[in-house]
Amino acid sequence: MPELVNSLNWVIGGAQGSGVDSAANIFSRACALAGLHVFGKREYYSNIKGEHSYFTVRVAETPIRSHVDNINMLVSFDAETVFRHSSDVSEGGGIIYNADIAETKIDEVPTIDDHASARIKKTLEKAGLGFSVQDALEHARSRGVVLYPMPYFQLLEEFAKKVNDPALSKLTRMTNVMALSASMALTDFDSGLLARAIQFIFKAKKRVAETNVQAADFTYNYAKAKFADQNGFRYKLQAKPADKDIILVQGNQSSAMGKMVAGCRFQTYYPITPASDDSEFLESNDVLDLYDSGDKGSTVVVQTEDEIAAIAMAIGGALAGSRVATATSGPGFSLMAEALGWAGINEVPVVVSLYQRAGPSTGLPTRHEQGDLNFAINAGHGEFPRIVFASGDIEESFYDTIKVFNFAEKYQMPIIHMLDKAIANSVMTCRVFDTNKTRIDRGLVADKISDSDRGAAGNYLRFKLSDSPLSPRIPLGTENAIFWNTGDEHTEEGHITEDPELRVQMMDKRMSKLDLALREIADEDKAVLYGNPDADIVLVSWGSTKGAILDAIDRLQKDGISVKFIQVRLLNPFPSDLVRSLLGNSKTVVDIEMNYSGQLGSLVRQHVGRQPDYLVVKYNGRPMSLDEVYNAVRRISSGNAPRRQVLKNGT
């Protein structure tokens, strides 16, 4: 088989806590240092130690935005990874496995649940095989997969002897780096770059870094020598000159960095996956560098007693004049509903970073879903204005974060910034974030008020009724500008009222801010069109499905299938006119979403009057792959698709 250079889908698996993440981070970093583009995603159980986790990293010479189903290189050191993933390794691909555990039977692996076990056994049984690691490997081999046994225990011993440190022979934790290193040897990857990546990942621990570099080197040479006589692994990774200004960034850092730039100086949170990382990143970097050296910058991050306190505290901070945010996921957001309405009626700018995961209730706590769109738009009783905005990928989430803070303050309302597990737990190469492209707009905020802003009683009219629905915000503590807030309907001063006429005026004032936002927000922030504008098939989606859809469009293009894609970014208020015009005369509308019911599809029908012709949905907790989207759209284009396709891939 011909060699394939710089196009690889690499997967490493292992028990949670056994170094899968570090190995994958080293691999991603090494490939990025080699001038290649990577897209990686992490899958894990709601568990701390022992359950199966794995990391998929796709490598290419051009930017990539999604994962694929077929594995070219499976890197393992435990039995479960072989059982769970070997059937996804494609012909010509390879499996690196622990030679010492080949005899392990599937029933001896307690973390493989009955359902998965039954599925795997069925496959092996069909092939006339038994239920051991060896059988699973044999099954793969029979399909043209190349096997690379690694005697990790023996290697550890030899390595310990070589570096004269007997204690190391017990250091099974290092098998992750050994396994990784073997895969690098098979792909002829530059071992110097691998060493640099290891040093980077372990930079806080010099000694650990050094030992790991040595172990990597040792294993690299071993694998080179041992597998030299085999015909050679088909997939190769070759360093090339790196594009300029590329970063390798994780999705749980990007929005947090956006918050720093946006000037969010107060963030509250209650721990929840996958949102906590955002707050922890801010807290780890709480003292900020400023270009303007006269001032000092810092972010106060408060871990609250629950999510009700988190949003209430954030609102308090906003009233005092700070840009504020709280980060949460579905269960926490459910608790925030009442306070969201308080921020709505009192016109308080507060940003909620909603990192969705699979619900309802605790759902699949560490898995992906886009099931909270309807809820984000409707959370809270009564009617009040809010902006719901969704980012499509890591890079967007940085810039969007700065934008949503501007929206919050310009329109004086709560903002729900939709992110999700797929974004938070993925890593990708992209262009370095450019803060020169960003601007801060704090909207109408006054530090002094004039007499014309006062009412009959001489008090500041915080909610003054005028031609514009926007009345200047005043930070608490401002001289001569006392006002009141209440969750009850209020007068212009902010006192309680039940007057029917005033009620209508205040509702109109608040709700018409949505019309204003819809007029003012740039089209590119409402919805973006990709692909051929004249295509007959149009895909509509929102959020993190963007990557798989764009990559699928490229592949479809090569097949001569022309489609376009509307990524809706502003979900509330809904940009009906723009979406209608982007839909144009397309014959076939396909709604693609990571939920059961096609929530965006319903919004399109509601606001644009166009019922999507096809629904492509997924709700098994695993993000959509490029292949799944590609196949689903191909089926539609060939006319053989059911109205609703449910995607089910993923381990």
């Binding site: 590329i246 720093m260 001032d295 906003a318 004049g321 306070a339 960003t438 608490l476």
Partner: protein, 322 residues
């Protein structure tokens, strides 16, 4: 020009029932603000929901009437974003010790420098007199269908074990005494809690003004009325922890005193301990310039709206082209 009591009053119609104990608390807060000459704009009164929740609308300072049970998180958020604000949180006993009890306990752990006053009437006033968390077991106030099946929480002891560093009790009809407590609470460095016994003439027909006065509590010998309320300070009680070594002893006294109820009910300062760092001090230990540049006072953009936060250091770490 000196600020007068009138400067802290609004012209909003007060719709509390005639004779409600809330009036006394409102007056005491306004008197304390005037005594301390706190400029109205420097103070913010936060409240929860209930009859008591309406308090801020009657006071001419910034007034934030929040959600049922959530007054403490709102208030702490504002204070942490701008520590210069004089923050006073108020609310009902249901608000603070029922639906908001989790926030009460957590606020104690933080010790944010502010004041929290509970209007303790043993009922849910605004929802027409249901039992509140401070109503004693077996009591049947007039709108209860059955006697109270729950035991009552002890607000003073709960505040103590939660970590409040100033704990006092006032009585809404002893306005001067309450005013003095509020002043001490404002001056206290840390989180101050005041439990105010507040008769609700409409729904609590047990713990009435007359009951507190002891009109039914007659000394069998002298035949004189024995007021239930007495002042801790009149008995030589001193709850101030002067040295951390006294802590256990003083805490034990607080619990003992807080359990007094029935014919003798103490008011006054139960406890004060300034040896615990405030949340602001804890933040300053991490963020040196926190007090000078708190969240609300930080510059975040230049005159052209360009952000001034420099994340190059973080990005450099992520760069792969060097």
């Amino acid at each position: 020009m000196a600020l007068k009591l009138a400067d802290y009053k609004t012209d909003v119609h007060n719709d509390w029932c005639p004779g409600c104990g809330d009036f006394g608390i409102l007056n005491a807060i306004q008197m304390a603000l005037a005594d301390m000459q706190i400029p109205p704009h420097r103070a913010t009164i936060f409240s929860g929901i209930g009859c008591s929740g309406k308090t801020p609308h009657y006071i001419k300072t910034y007034g934030i009437h929040t959600l049922h049970g959530r007054v403490l998180p709102f208030a702490q958020g504002a204070k942490l974003a701008n520590p210069e604000l004089e923050v006073i949180a108020v609310g009902g006993d249901g608000d603070g010790l029922g639906i908001g009890a989790g926030h009460f306990v957590s606020a104690g752990r933080r010790n944010v420098d502010m004041v929290y006053i509970i209007f303790n009437n043993a009922v849910y006033g605004l929802t027409k007199g249901q039992a509140s968390p401070t109503l004693k077991l077996g009591m049947k106030t007039k709108s209860l269908p059955q006697p109270n099946v729950n035991n009552s929480v002890n607000p003073v002891a709960l505040a103590l074990v939660s970590g409040f560093t100033f704990i006092a009790r006032g009585y809404s009809y002893d306005i001067r005494h309450l005013k003095d407590i509020i002043k001490r609470a404002v001056e206290h460095k840390g989180l101050a809690f005041i439990d105010v016994l507040q008769p609700c003439p409409t729904y609590n027909d047990i713990n009435t003004k007359e009951w507190f006065q002891g009109l039914d509590n007659i000394d069998p010998e002298t035949k004189r009325v024995m007021p239930r309320i007495y002042k801790l300070e009149d008995t030589g009680y001193n709850g101030v922890v002067n040295d951390p070594s006294e802590l256990n002893e003083k805490m034990a006294k607080v619990v003992e005193k807080s359990n007094e109820w029935g014919s003798k009910i103490p008011i006054g300062v139960f406890f004060q301990n300034e040896h615990v760092p405030t949340y602001q001090e804890r933040l300053s230990a991490r963020i040196q310039n926190y007090m000078e540049y708190p969240p609300a006072h930080q510059k975040i953009a230049d005159a052209n709206g360009r952000p001034i936060t420099n994340i190059e250091g973080l990005l450099d770490d992520l760069r792969v082209d060097k």
